[in-house]
Amino acid sequence: MMNNSLTLDPLRWLLASLALVYGLLAPHLPMWVTLLAVTAGGWRYAAKLGYIRMPRLILLLPIAAIAVVGITLSHGSLLGRDASISLLATMMALKLLESHTRRDATLLVFLAFFLSITSFLFSQSLLAGAYLLLPLTGLVGTLISVNHPVGHLPAKPKLRLAAIMLAQSAPIMLLLFLLFPRIQGPLWGVPEDAYSGMTGLSDHMSPGTISQLSRSDSPAFRVAFDGPTPEASQLYWRGPVLWNFDGASWTAGEQTRNLPTQQVTETRLPTRYTVTLEPHNRRWLFMLDLPATTPSNSTLTHDYQLLSAEPVRLRLRYDGASNLEYRLGDQLDPESRFQALQLPAEGNAKTRAMARVWEKDRSEQIVQRALSMFRDQAFRYTLSPPVLGQDSIDDFLFTTRSGFCEHYAGSFVFLMRAAGIPARVVTGYQGGEINPTDHYLMVRQADAHAWAEVWLENRGWVRVDPTAAVVPQRVESGVATALPAGEPIAPLMRADLQWLRKMYLRWDAVNNRWNQWVLGYDQQRQMALLSRLAGSQVSWQDMIIGLFATVSGAVLAIAGFMLYRKKRIDVLQGMYARFQRKLAKAGVSRHPNEGPLDFGKRAAGLLPKQAKAILDITLNYAHLRYGNIKETHQIEALRHQIRNFRP
C-alpha cells in the first residue's frame, strides 16, 4: 500500500543534499540564515525520529515574517542579489519544517536545484563547479528515494542509479552547451550589488590606495603574447592617468577630459597580445604602454588611456597591440600645459622652494636631479610607512622618506610641476609573472603600480618611474623582491614559499583554460567555433536546427543503448526455441511450465543416444541465459552446437 507521507529514508537524503548546497552558500549568507537552516534541518530530523513534534503553521508564519525583516536589515533592502538568495534559503528552511508529504520533498528538491544555480553568482571557479556534483547527485538520489515508497532499496544502488543518470545526461548537456544560442545578457536590469566585491584600481590615488592592493594576490588579468614576452622593464600596463592634485589625492580631473590628443610616432613593430581581464566593475582596460590599437567597444582617451563603453562586470577578453618604443607628442598645447602644471595654491613650501632652485636647469637635468635625490638619500620602499601630515609631499621628501610607489610617483610629479616641467601621474600595473605551464603572463592586483610622465621638449611625454630609482628590483623582478622581509604582502607573492607558488601556478593554468573555454563561451566564441566547424557562417536558425538534430540523435543513441541488452536474450531465446523445435520433431516436447534443466533431463532420458549433446546444450543455455557472464564467443559456440544437433 502506498501513502504520500515523507518517510525517513527520503528525508535523510534530502537533508544531506540540502546540507551540501547550504555549505556552498554559507560564506555568502548572513550567519543567522545558516543557523536557521541548520536548526530547521535538525528539528525536522528529530521530529521524524519521534523526539519532538513539528511546529504548527501558526508558529511558522511569524517566524517567516521575522526572517523577512531580518533579511532586510542584514542586506539593506529586500531587492538585490544577496537579499534574494538569503530569502530563498530562509524560505526553504522554513518549508522544511512544514514538509509532511512526498510532494513537499519533491518541491524542496526542485528549489534546491534553483538555489544551487545562485551559488554561481558568487563564484564560477572550476572547484565550485566540481563541488556542485555532490549535492546534485544527492538531490537526484533524494528523488529516487521519494519515488520508491515501498520495499527495500539500499543507498548504494540509489547512488549508483543517480550517478548513471547524470552520466547519461552529460552528452546532452554538452551538445546543448555548445549549440544553444547564446543571447547577449542582461535581459533586464541587474541589481547593483550583483557585482559588489570586485577589487581593482580606483580612479584616485592617495597614500595607501595602491599599497592596499598589495594584500591581494588575486589575478587582475592574464596576457597571452603573440611572440616572445617583452622584458620586465617594458611591462608597464597603462591604467588611469591622473592630472589633478588637491593636496591630498590625485584624480583624473573633470577639466582634463577634452584635451587634444597627442600624436604618436612609433619606432618599432608593435607587440601583439590578448588580455583576459577579470571583472573589476570599472571602465578601464589595460594595455601595454603605449596602446596602438583600440579593441571594439572601447575608446582611447587623449592621454592614451583605454576605456570600455560599459564597466567591466564580466571576464573580458580583448586583443591589443602596443608600441614599446614610441614618441608621444610633438607640441604641447597651452591647455594641456596648463593642466600639467597645476598645483594647489598652498602647501608643501619646502618642496616648492627646492624646485625653484632647480628651475634654472634644463628639463632633463631637473629630472635627473630628482631621481638622484631618490637614489642617494636614504629612501625606503615599504608598505607601511609613517603617516604623513598636512604637507604630505614635504613630509615624505624630507622627513619620513619611506613609502610605496604612490608616494614616489605623486611626490615626483609635484616636484616636476613645481619646477616648471609639465608632468602627470600614470597608474596601472607593472610586471607580472609568467606561468611556466602555459606561458601566459599573470598580472595580479599586488602588481599595481604608479609612475609618472613628464613633458620634455623634443621628446614629448616620457615615462619616468621614480620607484625604479629607489628599488630597481621592483621593475625587474616584482614587488616581492623589492620589499624588505617582513612586509605584509600577499602569500602568493612571497619569494620564499616556492612550493606554494609552483602549485598555484599549475592550478592557475588549469583555471585559465577553464576561464577561456567554459566561462568565456559567449556569443562571439560560439559563432566562431560553429562557423569553423560548419565551414561557413552559421545563423541562429542553423544553430537551432542543429541543436534539435544533434540532441535528438543523442537521445536516440542513449535510448538505443539502454534497450540494447534485451536483444541478447532474444538471440538466446531464439536459439533455444530452435533447439526445442528440433526436439519436438523427434517427438519430445517441452511442457509449458517445465524449466529448461528439467526438460533437458527428461529429453536426455527419452533420447539416450543424444543424451550428452542435449545436456550439454541445455547447461550452456542455462548458463548463458541466467548467469552473469555473456560473452559473444560463448553465444556463438552455443549457436554452433544447436545447429549441429541432429536428434
Partner: protein, 316 residues
C-alpha cells in the same frame, strides 16, 4: 444539433486495444508515458534557471540547467524502461462470498535482466499495490477487489504504472488477464434454522455425529470456518490456526431445498448458502435441491464447494 449527433465513444477506442491473455506482456507499443505535475514544475524551474543564466551570463548556470534538462530526458527513458517488457500472469483466485474483498494474486516477471522498482498495480480506481521485481525474477502482488454480487467476477482491466525513478514522468499500461473469480452468494444474516431431517431412521433430527466422522486432515484456517472445527491444540503449540477436515458418507439425509425458502431468488440463495454453511459447521451431511439441479447428500470439502458453486451460478 450536437446532441443529436452520435459521438463515437473515443475513450473506448483507446481502451479496447488489449486482448484477453493468459500472460500479458507489456510490449513496446502498449506503454504510454506523460509528464507528471512534478515534471511540468521541473520544466518551469528549468526555464527560470535558463533565464537567470542568460541574464547574468553564468556559463556554469548553463551547464547546470542543461545537465538537468538532459536528466529530464533520461528520466523519461528510465521510467519507460521500468515498465517495458514486463509480463503479468494471474494466479488462481480463491472464491469468496459476495461483499467480501477478493485477493487477486498477480505475478509480475522480468525477462530483461533488469530490476524493476516501484511498479504499481490497480484495478480501475481501487487501492494501489506497489512492488519491486528482481532481475529475471518474479514477484507476487496482491490486488484487492470488492465483490458485490454472486457469480463469475472478471477482475477487468489491470492498470500497471510507475513513476520511478524521478517522478517526473508517469508511464502506464493495461493488461487484461484471463482469470476470473467465483463469488458465492452472501449468506443471509437472519437465518431460519436448518430444516428438519426428513428421512432419518427415527433418530433425532439434529443428531451430530462429529465423533463418528472420519478425520481426513488439517488445513489452514479460512474465514468462515466454524470455531468448533479448529484444532485448538495445534494453535496452542503455536502452529497457527488449523481447521480439522472430515470426510464421511451420508448417514442421515438433510435436504436443503429451494422450496423451503421464501422470497426472491437472491434471498432464497442467501438462505440456502447460510444453511450450507451451518450444515458444514455442524458436521452434518446434506444435499442440495434447486429447481434445476439436485446434489445428493454428502459431506466434505469438495461437496461444500460443489454446492456453493451451484448456488453461485444458479440461473447465470
Amino acid at each position: 444539433m450536437l446532441k443529436r449527433m452520435k459521438w463515437p465513444d473515443w475513450k473506448n477506442w483507446l481502451r479496447t486495444a488489449r486482448p484477453v491473455q493468459e500472460k500479458a506482456h507489456l510490449g513496446r507499443r502498449y506503454i504510454y508515458i506523460l509528464p507528471t505535475r512534478h515534471g511540468l514544475l521541473f520544466g518551469l524551474i528549468l526555464i527560470a534557471m535558463l533565464i537567470g543564466s542568460i541574464n547574468y551570463t553564468l556559463s556554469l548556470g548553463f551547464v547546470l540547467t542543461f545537465l538537468l534538462a538532459g536528466l529530464g530526458v533520461v528520466a523519461m527513458l528510465h521510467t519507460w524502461r521500468n515498465l517495458a517488457h514486463l509480463s503479468l500472469t494471474s494466479g488462481k483466485i480463491t472464491p469468496v462470498f459476495a461483499g467480501e474483498p477478493v485477493r487477486w494474486h498477480v505475478t509480475l516477471e522480468d525477462h530483461d535482466q533488469r530490476s524493476r522498482y516501484a511498479i504499481s498495480l490497480r484495478v480501475g480506481k481501487g487501492p494501489v499495490e506497489c512492488c519491486d521485481i528482481a532481475p529475471e525474477g518474479r514477484t507476487q502482488a496482491t490486488v484487492t477487489l470488492q465483490t458485490r454480487q454472486r457469480g463469475w467476477l472478471s477482475p477487468g482491466r489491470l492498470t500497471v504504472f510507475t513513476d520511478f525513478p524521478l517522478g517526473l514522468f508517469h508511464a502506464w499500461s493495461y493488461a487484461q488477464l484471463a482469470s476470473r473469480c467465483l463469488v458465492y452468494p452472501a449468506p443471509s444474516e437472519n437465518s431460519l434454522p436448518l430444516p428438519t431431517d426428513t428421512s432419518s431412521r427415527g433418530e433425532g433430527a439434529l443428531q451430530h455425529r462429529e465423533g463418528d466422522d472420519d478425520f481426513s486432515g488439517l488445513r489452514t484456517y479460512q474465514a468462515g470456518d466454524s470455531p468448533k472445527r479448529i484444532d485448538w491444540k495445534a494453535s496452542s503449540r503455536d502452529q497457527g490456526l488449523l481447521t480439522k477436515q472430515f470426510d464421511g458418507q451420508a448417514r442421515a439425509s438433510l435436504w436443503l431445498d429451494w422450496h423451503l425458502t421464501a422470497g426472491d431468488t437472491e434471498t432464497r440463495l442467501s438462505q440456502l448458502t447460510r444453511w450450507v454453511l451451518d450444515a458444514r459447521d455442524g458436521g452434518l451431511s446434506y444435499g442440495l435441491r434447486l429447481p434445476d439441479l439436485e446434489i445428493p447428500p454428502h459431506q466434505g470439502e469438495s461437496h461444500d464447494r460443489r454446492c456453493l458453486e451451484a448456488l453461485a451460478l444458479f440461473g447465470l
